[in-house]
Symmetry: C2
Subunit: 222 residues, 2 copies
């Protein structure tokens, strides 16, 4: 039981970054032109650029933005951290307490100051500033659940990315959330500035495209 | 040379009405819910309904609306007709003059009062009110060109539909035309009232759909 960290070892866990990836050949040319039109089901931003129609998953788009911001802040040693008004007390099963114990130093480097608080509980005193306090407990439980399910040795790089991805996921705009046009515009602008605007930290697609030529062909206009 | 009309004969010329046609199973349920978001390339209206994303070809959508309005007015004997401020004088090649002569009565029933004006020219004195005066000459030339290319005998029903479709086409909103939201909303409302909102009088599709479930599946949310 427990986790071993082998620095430098690569593991395929869906958190890895793909190599620089273009959603379509003209993507790098048109990514600055994307204009939001509105939302589908309060979950997907519908937008256009000069080469067609675009659908953006608002949750994973924001996740990608936060993930890169987070890693950049952490690398620069400038992670925004909040001290919680009241420490959050969480009861954990024994196996997860052992896992937690082994990741306390990495959690600390990610802005989570976690201390034992009685035999079965822990106290969380600080967390990354991008998280709402109400999301902190759920995040930690999800992280530990995930690590408990790991059957293979997880390396330190994978752990770092898993923490960053979990924090970004819990801080990101949810689906089923109406967005004002300014918010959509902001999100698209920030997404297009990221290194990998097309794939989320968990490997899910962020952008779907319907090519103008295909649309014209379907309308018998090609 | 010339045209024969055989009443009742059916001809496949792309102008026939398909049988009642639903773009997708839920179409009849959701057709009242369609909400425009904006345009793609000033040519296609991007909209949503509860079952997905919709793209509407603004030209053929308007064509369908006008086509049904036109046939309804004509059937009721209440076709809106305009008297042109100045008759439009058109020079025609001899073959087309012969064709024109054979369709003058049907043109008259469609609001086009056409008279000979010298040996090679004709004068158009009235036209359906939905047409801009500037579109009238082009329309007549296109109609005669089309009839001249016909290799088969054309029946009177096909001719009626061809005239109605040509008038609707020339009166309809063009592609590459920016539309205000109220205009988009009006067009969608009128389109959804038509008998066949999914196929234009020439048989081209009016609506493309991207199903919500397919979008969710593509985002790995299904």
């Amino acid at each position: 039981m427990g986790l071993n960290f082998r620095a430098g070892e690569t593991k395929t866990d869906g958190c890895e970054e793909p190599a620089e990836f273009s959603a379509y050949p003209e993507f790098d040319r048109v990514r600055q032109e994307v204009q939001p039109l509105g939302q589908l089901r309060d979950s997907f931003i519908v937008a256009v650029d000069s080469s067609g129609l675009i659908v953006i998953d608002q949750h994973v788009a924001h996740e990608r933005v936060l993930f890169e911001t987070y890693l950049r802040q952490k690398l620069a040693g400038k992670l925004d951290i909040q001290r919680l008004l009241m420490p959050i007390i969480v009861q954990l099963p024994p196996r997860q307490l052992v896992i937690l114990d082994s990741i306390i130093p990495e959690l600390a480097r990610n802005g989570f100051e976690v201390e034992p608080f009685g035999p079965k509980t822990i106290a969380i005193k600080t967390a990354p500033a991008m998280l709402k306090a109400s999301a902190v407990e759920k995040l930690l439980v999800e992280l530990l659940d995930g690590l408990e399910r790991e059957t293979q040795v997880i390396n330190i790089e994978a752990l770092k990315k898993k923490i960053a991805a979990t924090v970004s996921c819990h801080a990101a705009i949810k689906i089923n959330t109406p967005l004002e046009e300014t918010k959509m515009r902001w999100l698209i602008t920030e997404l297009m500035k990221t290194d990998v605007p097309t794939v989320c930290p968990h490997g899910r697609p962020i952008i779907l495209r319907y090519d103008l030529r295909e649309i014209q062909k379907a309308f018998k206009r090609a």
